[in-house]
Symmetry: C2
Subunit: 468 residues, 2 copies
C-alpha cells in the first residue's frame, strides 16, 4: 500500500532495488510471499471461529481443572484439523486450587451485600465466616508503612485505582496490591484482604487473579471487590463510623496435578531443528470463558500457522505453536518448557506471544541485536499499511515469551490496543461478544508477516544479551 519507491524514476528505482537486494537480510521473494499471506489474512482468515469454538465448546479452563483437561483435548484436535505436521503435549505440574463460594456483606453501619471474587489460592474463612472492621489504605506502599497495630485484627482494604491506557501500563503499578497485598496484610496480623479490583471498568464485577502465597506463614482470605463496591466502602468510611464487613469464603488448596503445554509444528523444509516459537496460553481464569484472555491469542497464532501451512512448501525453519499451560498461575508452562528444553534453546531463533486481548495491533516492538534491526525495518514495510507503527527494542515477547527472553532468545511483540482490555480481564465478563472478528483478521495479518519471514529468512537473529 505504502510504496514510496514508485514515485522515483525508473532508472533510480532499478538501481535502488539492486542495492536493496544486496544489503537487506530479507529477500524480495520472501517479502512478496509474506505480502500475499498478509492480504489473504485480511480477506479470509477466520481466527474468530477458533476462539468461538474454544469458548463455546470448552469455556473456562483454569489450570488443573476439568475445563483445562477439556481445553487440552480441544487444542490437540483443533491443531490436527488445521494442518499441522506434528501435534503433541508436554506435561507440566501445577498447584491446584478449588474455588468455592465467596460472600461478603457490610454488617454495619449500612448493611448491604458486596460483590467479590477470591484471588487465586486464597484460603477460606473459618466455617461460618469472619466479621471485622475494615481499614483503608491508598495502596500497597501505604500498607507496608503502616504500623501493625493499625492493621491487627482488621480487614485490610486496599483502594488503589488503575489508570486506563492503550498500552495497559496502568496494570503494573496497580497489580502490586494483588500480588503482595495479602502477604503484607497477613504479616501485620490482618484477618483478611479486600482489594479494589485491578481493572479499568465501572461494572459490578470483581477481577480475580494470581497472588503469591509462597512462604506466607499464616495466609488470610484475599478477595477482589468490584469497583462500584470499592466506591461503596469508600463512601461509607467517609461518613466516619467504623465499617464492619462479614466474609464467608470456601476455597481449598488441592494436591498438585498435571496440566499440559500443547504444541503444534509446521516442520521446516531445510532447518527443521531451528524453531520460531509463536505462542499464546491455553488456560484462563474460571469466571469468564477466557475469550480475550487468552482465547483470542490462541486463535490468532493457530490461524497464523494454518495460513502458513497452506503455502505450497514449508518455510525453511520449523514454526512451532506453543499453547502454554498455566500461564495465569505464574507462567508455569513456559518456565517448565524452558527448563525441559534448556539444551535446545540456541535453536529457538525467536519467540513471540499473543496475550493482550483482541484489539488491533498498533505497534511493533522487537528484542533483537542492533545489527538485526534491518529485518524489523523490512517487516515494517508490510506492517505499516496495517496501521502499525515501529515501537521499541524492549519487547519481552509476551508473558510466557519473557521466560525465553530471559535466556537471550530474540523476541517480537505485536502490541495490541489494550484500551478496554482491563475492563474485562479476569472477570465473568471476559466472553466472546467482546471479540471483534475484523480486529482478529488484522492481528493474523501482522502475525503471518512476522512468523513467515522469521521462519523463512536466510540468516538468523543471533542472541540478545540478557540485562543481568
Amino acid at each position: 500500500m505504502l510504496r514510496p519507491l514508485l514515485t522515483l524514476t525508473g532508472g533510480l528505482l532499478a538501481a535502488l532495488a539492486v542495492v536493496s537486494a544486496q544489503a537487506k537480510p530479507l529477500s524480495q521473494e520472501d517479502i512478496s510471499v509474506a505480502e500475499v499471506l498478509r492480504d489473504r489474512a485480511l480477506e479470509s482468515s477466520d481466527a474468530y471461529s477458533i476462539v468461538e469454538s474454544l469458548t463455546v465448546e470448552v469455556g473456562p479452563r483454569r489450570a488443573g481443572t476439568e475445563g483445562d483437561r477439556r481445553a487440552v483435548a480441544w487444542a490437540l484436535q483443533k491443531m490436527k484439523t488445521l494442518g499441522f505436521d506434528r501435534v503433541y503435549t508436554e506435561q507440566i505440574d501445577v498447584k491446584r486450587w478449588h474455588r468455592g463460594h465467596a460472600h461478603a456483606e457490610v454488617v454495619a453501619p449500612f448493611p448491604q451485600p458486596l460483590v467479590v471474587s477470591s484471588l487465586g489460592y486464597s484460603v477460606p474463612t473459618p466455617e461460618g465466616g469472619l466479621t471485622a472492621e475494615i481499614v483503608e489504605f491508598a495502596d500497597v506502599e501505604a500498607l507496608t508503612k503502616a504500623p501493625a497495630k493499625k492493621v491487627k485484627g482488621k480487614i485490610v482494604f486496599i483502594n488503589r485505582r488503575m489508570e486506563r491506557a492503550r498500552t495497559g501500563e496502568g496494570y503494573g503499578p496497580a497489580v502490586q496490591g494483588r500480588s503482595k497485598g495479602m502477604r503484607i496484610a497477613a504479616e501485620k496480623g490482618a484477618v483478611a484482604l479486600l482489594l479494589r479490583s485491578v481493572g479499568t471498568d465501572s461494572d459490578r464485577f470483581a477481577h480475580t487473579g494470581m497472588m503469591s502465597i509462597e512462604g506466607v506463614e499464616n495466609p488470610v482470605p484475599a478477595l477482589a471487590l468490584s469497583a462500584p463496591d470499592a466506591n461503596l466502602l469508600e463512601a461509607m468510611l467517609k461518613r466516619g463510623k467504623p465499617v464492619e464487613v462479614k466474609l464467608d469464603v470456601d476455597n481449598e488448596l488441592l494436591a498438585d496435578g498435571p496440566s499440559f503445554n500443547v504444541i503444534g509444528e509446521i516442520t521446516g523444509r531445510e532447518k527443521p531443528e531451528e524453531v520460531m516459537i509463536i505462542g499464546a496460553h491455553l488456560d484462563s481464569w474460571d469466571e469468564g470463558t477466557g475469550a480475550l484472555d487468552d482465547g483470542a491469542g490462541v486463535a490468532i497464532v493457530l490461524e497464523t500457522a494454518r495460513l502458513i501451512a497452506e503455502l505450497p512448501s514449508r518455510p525453511r525453519r520449523t514454526l512451532r505453536v506453543v499453547l502454554f499451560g498455566a500461564e495465569e498461575i505464574g507462567l508455569v508452562g513456559a518456565k517448565q518448557y524452558v527448563e525441559a528444553h534448556r539444551s535446545e534453546l540456541d535453536n529457538i531463533i525467536a519467540v513471540s506471544e499473543s496475550d493482550f486481548g483482541a484489539g488491533k495491533v498498533w505497534r511493533f516492538d522487537t528484542r533483537l541485536p542492533e545489527n538485526k534491526f534491518d529485518i524489523a525495518d523490512q517487516m515494517m514495510q508490510l506492517l505499516a499499511p496495517l496501521g502499525i507503527e515501529r515501537g521499541n527494542n524492549n519487547s519481552h515477547g509476551g508473558p510466557d515469551g519473557s521466560v525465553f527472553v530471559a535466556q537471550g532468545v530474540p523476541a517480537f511483540g505485536l502490541y495490541q490496543d489494550g484500551t478496554d482490555y482491563f475492563d474485562f480481564h479476569h472477570t465473568p465478563n471476559d466472553t466472546l461478544d467482546k471479540v471483534d472478528p475484523e480486529n482478529l483478521k488484522q492481528n493474523v495479518a501482522a502475525w503471518v508477516v512476522m512468523s513467515f519471514l522469521v521462519a523463512e529468512m536466510e540468516g538468523d537473529l543471533g542472541r540478545v544479551p540478557t540485562e543481568h
Copy 2:
C-alpha cells in the same frame, strides 16, 4: 430562546402581547418565579447527594425486605431534613419472596457454568436441582404456538433480543417473555424457563424482574440468562446436539407483609386540599443498589420539592411527593394509594413520576384536556432552553402515575434519555457510578418548572377522559 414573536414589528407585537396576556393561563409572574427556580436548579441543585445517600446508606430495597424497611426510615428522615411541611407513611400490603441461590450449568455436550438470576417470585427447583434438555423459542409468541409435546419435560429457552432506543420502546415487546413466559411454559409441561435477559447490554449480568404468577397452577422455576450466556446456548444448539442444563434454585414465597408509601408535602397556601403529586418509587430490585431504578427518580423529586420549599411563600396548592412502595412487583403502592384515596381523586390536579434512570430529559409529554394545551406551551418556553422538545399528549405519567391516569387524572411526562437505561436495569450493575450529577441538575430544572407552575397556577387542569 425560541421567540418568533420578536421578529414581528413592534406594534403588532404589543397587540399580540395583550391578547396573549389575557388568553394565557399561566401568569408572567409565575413564569418568572419558575425561571428563577429552573436556573437555581441548574446552578446549585444537588439531587446527586440524595441518590448517593440512598445507595450508600440503604442500598438494595426490594419490597417487603429489611432493606425496604430501612429505605422507608431513610426516606422519612430525608424528607424531614429537606424542609417538607408534613411527612408520613401509608402502609401497603405486599407479597413477600425470598431470593436464595440460583445456579445453572450446561452439563452436555459442553459442560460450563451459566450466569442466571431468578425472576421475581420464581419457585425453587426440587432439592438437588433438575436437569433437562433445553428447547429454544424465538419469542413468547413462538412458544404460545408450539405443541405441548415439543415442550413437555424440557427447559424452555426464550431467546428474544431487545432493541436499543432512546425512548426505551424495545422494552414493551421484549418484556412479554418475562411477564408471560413461565405461565405458558408451565401450562405446556415445561420443567423450567430460561429467558434471554430483557436488556440491551452485552455484559455477563442477568436482568431480573417481575413475572405474573397469579393463577398459575403448577409454576416452574424461571430464570433470566445474561446476554453472553444466551449467546452461548444459541451457539451450542447450532452445533446440532441436544443441550442439557442443570438448574439449582432456592427461593421461597413468604407470607404477605407490610411495606409503605412514604409521603412528604409542601402544604398549599390557598388551596391546600388541591394536590399536585410528583412521585418516584422507593423500592428497587435486590441485586444492584437501585441507583438508576429508581434512586435517581427519588432524588429528582425530593430535590424539586426542596427548591420549592425554599421559596419565600408556599405555592397556592399542595405539592405532594409520593415515594411509592413496591412498584417493581406490580405497582402495588400506587394501586393501594388510589384505592385508599378514591374519594379525593378529584383534588389531585395532576400526577407525574420520574422512573427512567438518570439520563437528561429530552421530551415533554402531557396528558391534558385539549383546552389546556396552552399551559404546556407556556411551560415549553422554560423547558426548551434545557434541550427539551414538546412531545405528545399520551403521557401515562410514569409507571405508578399510570394508575392515576387510569382514573382521569391529568399527567405530565418529562421523558429521559433511556439509550443506556436497559444496559443496567434490574442487574447488579445498577449502581451509583452510572449516575451523572450534571444530568440530574437538568432533570431537577425541568421538574421544578413543571411542579411549581402546576402547584401555583390560577386555574386547574380539568380531567382527561380515560380511553375505556
